[in-house]
């Protein structure tokens, strides 16, 4: 240290710990397989889940939910509940009408004339899905609050359930929102950026081959490990509130709560403590968050609400649920002419935060990696009396990827072509990037050939095709199927101006602050709020690499609007691509400031300073140097800074991406199908993903594995089933089959690395890739195995029974199997709900 750097007492103490200010940075932090910093805490139970939060005088809230899919509320009588021991308050929707806000927000009006119904946190006049909130109880403990729900008397007048999207659109169909006069929420028409589809196909005349299929994206239940919960602590005298919520989006939530309830934004602090997964289902503004807030405000006491798994399945948003009519056209030699997509998308009963935007986001992904001159997309949003849908891992892209990758296989079958050859013929070659797609996006980079070559090699495609031929030849009861998915997706949501052009209600930037502490440690503040992804680790690696400080010396501050006040949060595989780049840019500003101070202290010109591995050194005299930690200390002391320089290295950066990023890859799946029982076993799964530059390969691997599990789950296992009366019959984990480790194959993962050119880190995002790619790979494999039996499609999930029926040549499908009618009485006290009855009736309450 130089004389000028005497920073008094702090320096003395630091001097007793030599090296503290000059801890060397070894380099190589980017791309290193660091174990996740956050895991020790998670696996030893030292977590701070929302439900762990306890406060003096905490009250417990429970929500009485509608047992009917659709009914008029004649009356709600909470008086008997109020008599029970421990009950502090009970409110109907009408009781809270003046404080709970006019309607919960939908931030994505996808068309100017979209029908946007009023959605109050508690229903006041009508209930519109099983699980719609009708009343709340607040009591001293959870048990009293649960018991009291049974004392609330609700009189309903049953209205017809609206369960089927196509029926819902027919004239004269019963209406979900009678005041709107229609069940159609919107019609989004997007003719693409290329030629007219119909004209293009007509133009090809006899040379055109057209293949049509109808695919169903079944409804899915996101099922994060941690269900939702919320705690609100008021400071009554100041009319100020702190909310802890199991949310992916504390920042967005704060803004929306302020707008909905009228409580000023600066009087609201929202914290996302440790959050146990979300998968998009915690990317929302929920009724219970508003209810806990307004009830805590009314009572002047802290209030907690925690949902059960059954409640989670009814009252937390669902995913997917589309009917996809897909038409693809090619010339006889296999060159694509165009793609026509007609979607019906189930909104459920109301619009949550981005309900209508999810299928519309898919509009840009259907053409995927293929060159084609024409494309036409339409999507009709439909209201039904079911739980609202919203984002679920992939949100729009899995649906699109499934459709295009399935129809490419069908086109190959129609043309008698090898499905991979047909793909190769039509995909964008690596020399053609950047490539302007028919759906309007510009893909910056990619190398589909490299990923595919590598995957095929790992898979032993030739060997498996040989075995398949042999099994077919000898009519083996176990048939082998091979499925392909060559996918791309869009990550890094999103360039704000693009969101603006799509009428989305906010921007897509992300914010970061980097603060160097006097002792040379670093706090990085990020607006991309983690809920299980490993942000602490990855952000530390980015900061360490950029500032040249040890990985261990970096700490993340996030998830609290007081300490990380600005952000757009975590979804859409955006955290690294947008938030990580913001951090990288903020560190650049720190280095710039530090360089000025270092130059001053070293009595050199800035131009003569080199910066590398955390050290400023004077060109030509390498002994004249300062570490960035030493500069931080000198800045803190501020005894000797350049004239007019503020004594701080702290830097903020808000980064708005210029483009999406486009990870891609090739997934190959081999299944064994027991043709006697219909059981499908995944025998080999190979995926080569190109997610650009890798910050941490361990995290990438983890995201891919989890993503694959969820995508395979859609293909083979999971389905939310409603009966004709609108009851969710898969209302618990007994009936909604989430696969576990024994059900999943070994994943053979590989990588190619084509850096993104649209951001300085070259990163592309990996949070959803596995989910997006795997579903069609698995179903293509199942259909491939069954094709010799005359099968050319199968609904998801491809259960053993569905496969067996397909093999019987019977397409008689079990719609809502074995459902017992429990529409029940239209009036009465509603302790148990109709769906618990259904649990009993189908024998699943074991």
């Amino acid at each position: 240290m130089t004389d000028q750097m005497d920073a008094g007492i702090v320096a003395q103490q630091i001097a007793e710990h030599p090296d503290a200010l000059s801890k060397p940075y070894a380099g190589g932090e980017l791309g290193r397989g660091r174990r996740r910093k956050e895991d020790a805490k998670l696996v030893t139970g030292q977590t701070n889940w929302t439900d762990n939060i306890s406060l003096p005088g905490l009250l417990h809230m429970t929500v009485l939910r509608s047992p009917m899919a659709h009914a008029k509320i004649v009356s709600v009588d909470v008086s008997a509940a109020l008599e029970l021991p421990g009950v502090i308050a009970a409110y109907s929707g009408a009781d809270l009408a003046d404080v709970m806000g006019a309607s919960m927000p939908c931030a994505w009006p996808v068309t100017p004339d979209m029908v946007s119904p009023v959605h109050t946190p508690l229903a006041t006049d009508e209930v519109r899905y099983v699980g719609d909130g009708v009343a709340v109880v607040v009591a001293r403990d959870r048990y009293a609050a649960a018991d009291a729900l049974e004392a609330i008397a609700v009189e309903y007048e049953q209205l017809p359930a609206v369960v089927d999207m196509e029926e819902a659109l027919k004239p004269g169909a019963p209406l979900v929102h009678s005041d709107k006069g229609t069940n159609q929420c919107f019609l989004f028409d997007f003719p693409g950026a290329g030629a007219d589809y119909a004209e293009t196909v007509r133009g090809a005349g006899d040379d055109a081959v057209v293949v049509r299929r109808r695919f169903r994206q079944q409804r899915l239940l996101p099922t994060p490990m941690e269900p939702r919960g919320v705690v609100v602590a008021p400071i009554a005298a100041a009319d100020e509130f702190t909310m802890w919520s199991t949310t992916q989006i504390p920042h967005v939530l704060r803004v929306m709560l302020a707008l909905t309830t009228g409580i000023p934004e600066h009087k609201l602090r929202v914290v996302a403590p440790d959050v146990g997964g979300g998968f998009g289902a915690k990317l929302n503004v929920y009724a219970e968050e508003i209810l806990a807030l307004v009830v805590a405000r009314k009572l002047g006491r802290p209030v907690k609400w925690t949902e059960s798994r059954s409640e989670n399945y009814q009252a937390t948003t669902h995913g997917r649920d589309q009917i996809q009519d897909i038409e693809i056209a090619a010339t006889k030699d296999g060159t694509l002419l165009g793609l026509k997509v007609e979607l019906l998308a189930d909104m459920g009963a109301y619009l949550q935060l981005i309900t209508p935007g999810v299928p519309v986001l898919g509009a840009f992904m259907f053409p995927a990696i293929y060159k084609m001159p024409s494309y036409h997309f339409t999507c009709t949003g439909v209201f039904t009396t079911k739980t609202p849908t919203d984002a679920y891992r992939g949100a729009g892209r899995p649906e699109a990827t499934y459709a295009i990758e399935r129809i490419m296989d069908e086109l190959a079958a129609e043309l008698g072509r090898d499905p991979m050859e047909l793909r190769r013929q039509n995909w964008i070659t690596h020399e053609e990037f950047p490539y302007e797609m028919v759906a309007g996006l510009t893909y910056d980079s990619g190398n589909y050939e490299a990923a595919t070559d590598k995957a095929e090699q790992m898979f032993d495609m030739a060997g498996l095709r040989r075995e398949q031929a042999e099994r077919r030849e000898r009519k083996d009861p176990v048939q082998l199927g091979i499925g392909i998915s060559t996918f791309t997706e869009m990550c890094g949501l999103a360039p704000s101006r693009v969101l603006g052009s799509l009428s989305y209600g906010a921007g897509g930037w992300e914010s970061a602050s980097v603060r160097m502490l006097p002792t040379g440690k670093v706090e990085v503040v990020s607006g991309a709020t983690p809920h299980g992804q490993g942000h602490h680790t990855a952000w530390s690696q980015i900061v360490a690499d950029s500032l040249g400080v040890p990985f261990e010396d970096v700490e993340l501050v996030a998830g609290d609007t007081r300490s990380s006040p600005k952000g757009m949060d975590t979804y859409g595989s955006r955290s690294l691509v947008v938030g990580g780049v913001a951090i990288h840019k903020a560190t650049g500003k720190v280095i710039e400031k530090a360089k000025r101070i270092a130059a001053h202290l070293l009595e050199a010109s800035e131009d003569d300073l080199d910066f590398g591995k955390g050290t400023f050194s004077v060109k030509g005299s390498p002994e004249a140097k300062l570490t960035i930690q030493e500069v931080a200390l000198a800045t803190f002391a501020a005894h000797n800074l350049p004239d007019g320089m503020e004594p701080s290295l702290d830097s903020d950066y808000v980064y708005d991406p210029e483009n999406f990023s486009y990870p891609h890859g090739t997934h190959l799946c081999a299944v064994d199908i027991d043709t006697e029982t219909g059981f499908t076993k995944i025998r080999r799964y190979v995926c080569v993903d190109d997610v650009g530059k890798i910050v941490n390969p361990v995290i990438v691997e983890g995201q891919i594995h989890g993503g694959l599990a969820q995508g395979i789950a859609q293909a083979l296992y999971e389905e939310a089933v409603y009966d004709a009366e609108g009851n969710l019959t898969t209302g618990s984990l007994v009936d909604y089959l989430v696969p576990a480790a024994p059900d999943l194959p070994h994943f053979d993962t590989g990588r190619t690395e084509t850096p993104a050119t649209s951001n300085p880190l070259g990163v592309k995002g990996v949070g959803e890739a596995g989910t997006i790619a795997s579903t069609p790979a698995v179903i293509n494999a199942v259909v491939d195995a069954l094709r010799p039996y005359g099968v050319d499609d199968i609904d998801m999930p491809a259960t053993p029974e569905r496969v067996w029926r397909a093999l019987q040549g019977s397409d008689e499908e079990r719609a809502t199997a074995g459902t017992v009618s429990y529409g029940g009485s239209s009036t009465g006290s509603t302790g148990g709900s109709a769906s618990s009855d259904s649990l009993e009736n189908d024998g699943s309450a074991r």
Partner: protein, 286 residues
């Protein structure tokens, strides 16, 4: 998922437990491993006034021998049944089937007696008890009685135990001679209940089936013993004969149609799985 209020007693002897159950009256319930009862309470599908917890009654736990019979305490946990050497030696069908029950966490709490007393036809162990001609020992205020498995399972979740009786033990005759066994469980994910399950114990003599005992899981409102198929299998000496004999296994049965499967598919599965289980047990695989 909050259960309604109930009283709780934890006796330490069987006699105390019987007394406690009698005292608590009609709406009392026995709590064994809680793996079926607790979910029912949490879903508020039952409202017992008192739970009599048997987990502190040592005499209800463990496996012993009584001459030609294996005696398994009702409170023996699934995980202990799976690992017990006596069970492995004398009732390997039970070890094999119990290993397929749920997941390790459930197997370390759920009990053999609880599974039988719960009498869920989708449970794996009732079919095994039936196939092995087990006897169930019940203790009540009037003393002890022994109920053959074929008289025990009355209907869906219904047994011949009276509300004041406790299932104390299960007696399983040891298999003697050259028996082979197999439990074929068909489910969609590893930890799920059986869509259909088939328990088979087969004795062969000179390469042909001399005796077959079969129990079917989830093919009706109780576990089922398809006697006609058992008889038809005698003399079968190759896989084709086994398949032919098993073709009638679902005849006369009314398997449920539910979210898990439609009845006709269950009937089909029963035919395929019975043939597989028997052929495997008889060493006639493929």
């Amino acid at each position: 998922m909050i259960p309604p209020e109930f009283d709780y007693v934890a006796p330490t002897t069987l006699a105390e437990a019987v007394a406690a159950l009698g005292e608590a009256g009609e709406d009392a319930k026995i709590l064994a491993g809680g793996q079926s009862l607790i979910p029912v309470l949490r879903l508020r599908l039952a409202f017992p006034t008192t739970l009599v917890d048997l987990s502190r009654v040592p005499e209800l736990r463990g496996v012993s021998e009584d001459a030609d019979t294996l005696v398994i305490g009702a409170m023996t946990k699934h995980s202990d049944v799976v690992e017990d050497p006596l069970v492995q030696q004398h009732a390997p069908l039970l070890s094999e089937a119990t290993a397929t029950v749920a997941d390790p966490a459930v197997r370390h709490r759920g009990t053999f007696g609880g599974a039988l007393a719960h009498a869920d036809p989708a449970g794996d162990l009732a079919a095994v008890a039936l196939a092995l001609d087990a006897e169930l020992v019940a203790e009540g205020p009037g003393g002890r009685r022994t109920i053959p498995a074929r008289d025990f399972f009355l209907d869906y979740l219904e047994t011949s135990l009276s509300p004041d009786e406790i299932l104390a033990a299960v007696r399983i005759p040891k298999l003697r001679g050259s028996w082979g066994v197999r439990y074929e469980k068909f489910n969609r994910v590893a930890q799920a209940w059986a869509i259909v399950g088939v328990a088979a114990a087969v004795r062969t003599e000179g390469g042909a089936i001399a005796e077959a005992r079969i129990g079917l899981t989830n093919m009706g409102s109780t576990p089922v013993r398809p006697a006609a198929v058992e008889a038809a299998l005698v003399g079968a000496s190759d896989r084709a004969a086994v398949v032919a004999a098993c073709a009638a296994v679902a005849e006369g049965l009314t398997p449920p149609s539910d979210l898990g499967a439609q009845a006709d598919y269950r009937a089909h599965l029963a035919r395929v799985l019975t043939a597989r289980a028997v052929a495997h047990a008889a060493g006639m695989s493929s």
